[in-house]
Amino acid sequence: MSDNPNSMRELTVQGLWRNNPGLVQLLGLCPLLAVTGTVTNALGLGLATLLVLLGSNIVVSMVRKLVPSEIRIPVFVLIIASFVTVIQLLMNAFTFGLYQSLGIFIPLIVTNCAIIGRAEAFASKNAVLPAAIDALMMGLGFMLVLLALGAMREILGQGTLFDGADLLLGPWAAVLRIELFALDTQFLLAMLPPGAFIGMGLLIALKNVIDARLQQRQSAAAGITRARVTGAAQ
């Protein structure tokens, strides 16, 4: 494991797994739970958040020496809000169907704590390149959680995957729609907010189980090294 916290590898591990904004920091839960009814919605919001995060992290990192620390939060919020507005206008122009189905949750990206959190905790203290990489990885980590939850709820709720993908990716994407099984009656709970909470809880539990397993394996390995008492490295 690299010791440099800004190394590419460390940033990746932190963003995608160890410090995942969705599963570990539990930030941005509102959109996470609200729009993950289908994979398409999740992907749309995930991409939008990723782009906003990337833009805001880069700009915040660029202006970090110019902004007095007393007013840094309003400045960060302004920067984030401008990026959100850009994304919102773009989505309105090019993916209107998805724009309508995501509704209020696009402007609400401004209030996503994951973004302001990264601006405050990372971008305002680091150079542009690490800030950009961090944004990319955190955004990807968030998007992956959105996708996992969206897939889970879509499969359980209506037995499909990528339903309505053409809203996001253009008419060709209609072929992406996979019907896993046909349900006579939809499992409404998976589509409703309680289903999102339960699904999210299960995802976090799954991550914790995997982490516990990994740690067990590691400590088992460490146990062997500890057995060499004297003269051992470390």
Partner: protein, 355 residues
């Protein structure tokens, strides 16, 4: 003279959890039998499915948690959850409904919170609510009582209907729901609700055959049977009197008031007590020792809250019966109730002192 010194709890009848749970299940039997006779054998099929699923789910989770399986199965708590859910859902609901419901009750509501004794919510009722909001159509497929059913359903028919939604002779559930006169029949509470909303008076509404003049054909007997079972439990001191009395008393009092105020648009107190799931709720569901309040004073408050909620949901709510929601809402209030009704330890904290 010597006094016997024993540490608390000073309980003269010491029953194990397993015995208690089994007694509750046995006390459900009169209700189940009446339900099977009056509403068709579907409930028996549901019971078998529910119990099998409950045991399987419990065993699965115990295996995952690397704990001994058999002692947990033998405490009969999973059995009770399965039984309560099976009698609560419509008897001819499709087979997957009860399996999803029981699995949810045991795995999510009970075991994910830490298993028996740790669950915040009543597993059967939480599963019922989950099913009701997920599958509203299937969960309201109540058939009229057997005397009003145009086709007599045998046990084999019940199995066919639960598994395929068509009886062996090919009638669909919605056909079975339809009475002799071709009018689809709902439960008495539901019918009354629709009628009152349509501007009919209580007396006009009660003319319909589904009421049988009073609380509804069949429903009265089912409730009486659960009342009998509940009284036996009271007599054996398996459950305390506070929760059932508070539930029934509050429901009775409120419906009496509303009935006296406007007798044409409010069902009578006795109708409220003997229709829907009132008795089942008061004696078997609200008294769940795990999710109910644990102090004496708190139990009365808890029961009153359930009674109040049942009344409010039946009168103003969007669903015809509100037992499950009422119990869950009261479950949520239990930590607060317990906090404020903690009994004073003898010798500590005199009234007005401290705080």
């Amino acid at each position: 003279m010597s006094f016997k010194i024993a540490s608390s709890p000073h309980n003269r009848i010491s029953r194990s959890t397993s015995q208690l749970m089994l007694l509750v299940v046995l006390a459900c039997l009169p209700g189940i039998i009446v339900q099977a006779l009056l509403f068709g054998y579907g409930v028996l099929v549901q019971l078998v499915l529910a119990i099998a699923t409950a045991w399987a789910a419990e065993a699965l989770i115990m295996r995952l948690r690397a704990k001994p399986v058999l002692p947990r199965l033998k405490d009969h708590s999973a059995l009770l959850t399965g039984v309560l859910l099976a009698v609560a859902i419509p008897p001819y609901a499709p087979w997957w409904l009860i399996i999803i419901g029981t699995g949810f009750a045991i795995i999510i509501v009970k075991q994910l919170y830490g298993g028996l004794g740790n669950n915040l919510f009543n597993p059967a009722m939480a599963a019922y609510v989950m099913l009701l909001i997920s599958f509203p159509l299937q969960m309201t497929q109540w058939l009229p009582s057997a005397s009003l059913q145009p086709e007599a359903l045998t046990l084999l028919d019940a199995v066919c209907t639960v598994f395929s939604q068509y009886s062996c002779s090919g009638f669909s559930v919605s056909q079975l729901q339809t009475g002799i006169d071709g009018i689809s029949m709902a439960t008495p509470l539901d019918t009354l609700r629709t009628d009152l909303a349509a501007g009919r008076t209580l007396t006009e509404s009660l003319q319909q055959p589904v009421f049988y003049g009073f609380a509804g054909a069949g429903w009265l007997w089912v409730n009486l049977a659960y009342l009998a079972g509940g009284l036996v439990l009271l007599k054996l001191q398996v459950i305390g009197w506070r929760i059932p009395l508070a539930v029934l008393g509050t429901l009775f009092g409120l419906s009496l008031l509303s009935w006296l105020a406007a007798a044409d648009t409010n069902p009578s107190p006795l109708f409220q007590l003997f229709s829907g799931a009132t008795m089942l709720a008061a004696f078997f569901i609200a008294t769940d020792p795990v999710s109910a309040s644990t102090t004496n004073q708190g139990r009365i408050l808890y029961g009153m809250l359930i009674g109040l909620m049942i009344f409010i949901i039946r009168k103003y709510g969007g669903y015809p019966d509100g037992v499950a929601f009422a119990v869950l809402l009261a479950n949520m209030a239990v930590p607060l109730i317990d906090y404020y009704t903690r009994p004073r330890t003898y010798g500590h904290q005199a009234k007005g002192a401290g705080k």
